[in-house]
Structure formats: structure tokens, C-alpha cells
Symmetry: C2
Subunit: 160 residues, 2 copies
Amino acid sequence: MPTPRPQLVQPDPDDEGLRGHVGYNMKRAFHMIQMDVNATLAPFGLRMVTFSALVVVMENPGLRQSQLAELLAIERPNLVVILDELEQAGLLTRDRAPDDRRAYALHVTAKGLALCEEARIAVSAHDKRMAEGLTDAELDMLITALRRIERNGKLGRSPK
Amino acid sequence: MPTPRPQLVQPDPDDEGLRGHVGYNMKRAFHMIQMDVNATLAPFGLRMVTFSALVVVMENPGLRQSQLAELLAIERPNLVVILDELEQAGLLTRDRAPDDRRAYALHVTAKGLALCEEARIAVSAHDKRMAEGLTDAELDMLITALRRIERNGKLGRSPK
DNA sequence: AAATTTAGGTATGAGTTATAACTGTTTTAA
DNA sequence: TTAAAACAGTTATAACTCATACCTAAATTT
């Protein structure tokens, strides 16, 4: 008696088989964060990357584009349009570097500084929202673990 | 005396101003994981999504496409090409559901099962590699935190 | 029986990331 | 002191992911 192929086995299907993998959970969590942070930054005319660039330039005035690309782990060609966006919005300037006529020294404008401060408050609120239910210690450990994973990934790829 | 604008302030520029935000750290960590897991799965002809789909179908035989899309948080249109890929590779089948002529019941083939088991071992090795330096307890907490964030994001968006 | 909903699919557009190659400038070396 | 190499920024482009609108066939509702 050939048993017919079962069509519906699980009464309540689930993805628990994947939940043990870090990558799967992180992909889903990151997707949520990305949605939320972009919605948070939209009123400021910013995206996650442009916000990141703005903060780093603000805290490292005079930075070169290549340095910024290196810090943010972004390819230089992609950074160009990001800076175009920020420059056009009047949030930062590309000043020619006096000692190297190839390079630009990046500076945040007063307008950029003000917007960045406001956006930062909004992002911090977003952080708090997304981390609801986690203790401060758990949050610290989360960030430590994420940095550890990033570092492990770097070590694995191209020891340079 | 008008002071000239400083061009290089930080001797060693950094992105510490962003490191306090969960999203920034997660983006970078996830990027590393994605690189590594895709490199890990490439020899099997799989990507992160196709692997995920394969595992979930394997553990929930007879699943409908819409159920799979729901479980993986993927839009139905995007799932189509993923299943095309897996079906063409002979790893799973789309069997017409006897009780509903619109629907397909998904099943993993013997070939798919074998490949999936092997790929899983490779992915587990990848997990271990990426989590090096974290204790089991820390890893558990990381996953718990990620699921918490995912859930917080879901609650925030579309209460449905 | 007509209207609505559902399952799967097609087509398409937006957004992100990566690569190759180019211009102009600086540095290194012959 | 030129010639070669390296570097800063840019352009163009391709691959991949994700989302939306719309279509068909079949089921369900009214």
C-alpha cells in the first residue's frame, strides 16, 4: 500500500530550525531597525548612511573623503553621491585641502551641526524604542557582541 | 585676526560617535556575516535566502508558498524566483495541493535533503567562526536580544 | 450567480553595494 | 629631473535585494 505523500504535516509551521543561526536572526532584526531608523530620519531629509557620514565628519572635522570611506566601510565611489547629497542640502562643505590639491577637507556647516544634533536625539529615541525590554547591561553586551562579530569577519576576510 | 579654518583636527579619526547606536553596529556586523555566509554557501549553489527557504520547507513539509513567505518575512513575488531556483536545482518540488487547485504544497527532494544537511554543517561552522570569542551564554543572549529587537520593530510598524 | 478574497505569478522600480576605468595630482625612483 | 607609480576623487555600470502594483485562476461569500 503506497502511502500518499503528506501535504500538510505541521499544524503550526515555524522557522525554529533557523532561529539557532545568528545570521538569520540578525538579518530580521536589522531589517526592522533599518525600517525604523529610516522612518525616523526621513523628516530630517536623511538616510542611515547620510546620517552616519554627517556624524563622523562632525566629530572629525577636516576629514578626507577616503578616510571617511575607510571609517564607514563604504567604497569611495558610493561615498561621492552621499556627500553630494549632504553638500547640496547645505549640511557640509568640501573644502580643497591646501596641502594636497587632489583632496577635499570635509567640514559640517552650522546648519549641518544643528540638524545633526536634532537627528541624533531622534535616533537615540529610536534606539531606545528598539531596545525596549533589554537592560542596559544587555544592550552593552549586544553592542560588544556585534563589534566582536564584525571583527571576526574582518579577520576572516583579506588579512590585507 | 581671522583664524584659518582647521583642516585636520583629529590625528587618528574614528567612528566612536556612532558606536553607541545599535543600528550602526548591527549593519556592520551583519554585512560581515552576509559576506561570510554567502561565501560558505556558494559551493552548494545556495545563497542565504535559498538556504533559509530550503530549511523551512524541510522542517515543514507540504507548506504553501504564502505560508513560507510569511514565515521568512519575504514578499510573495520575491519568493517566486527563490523557489524557481530551488526547483530548477532539483532541491524541492511544487506539488499541486489536492484540496486547493490554486496552491502548491512544497516538499524537499532527497537531493535537497542531502544538500541541506551538508550546507547546515557548513553554516554551523560559519556561525562558530563568527561568534569566536563569545561564550555560549553571550551567544544565547545575543540571539535573544536580536529576537527582541525584531519583535519591537514588528510592534512599532503596522499593528495590523 | 455575482462579488470578494485568496494563491501564485509578472513586471517593474527604488535602494544598496561592488567593480572597472578615468582625470588630475602627488610621490617615488631611475 | 624626468618617468613611473601611487593616490584622491569621480564616472559609469552591474548585481542583488526589497517593495509595489497589477494580473490570472480558483476558491469563498453573499
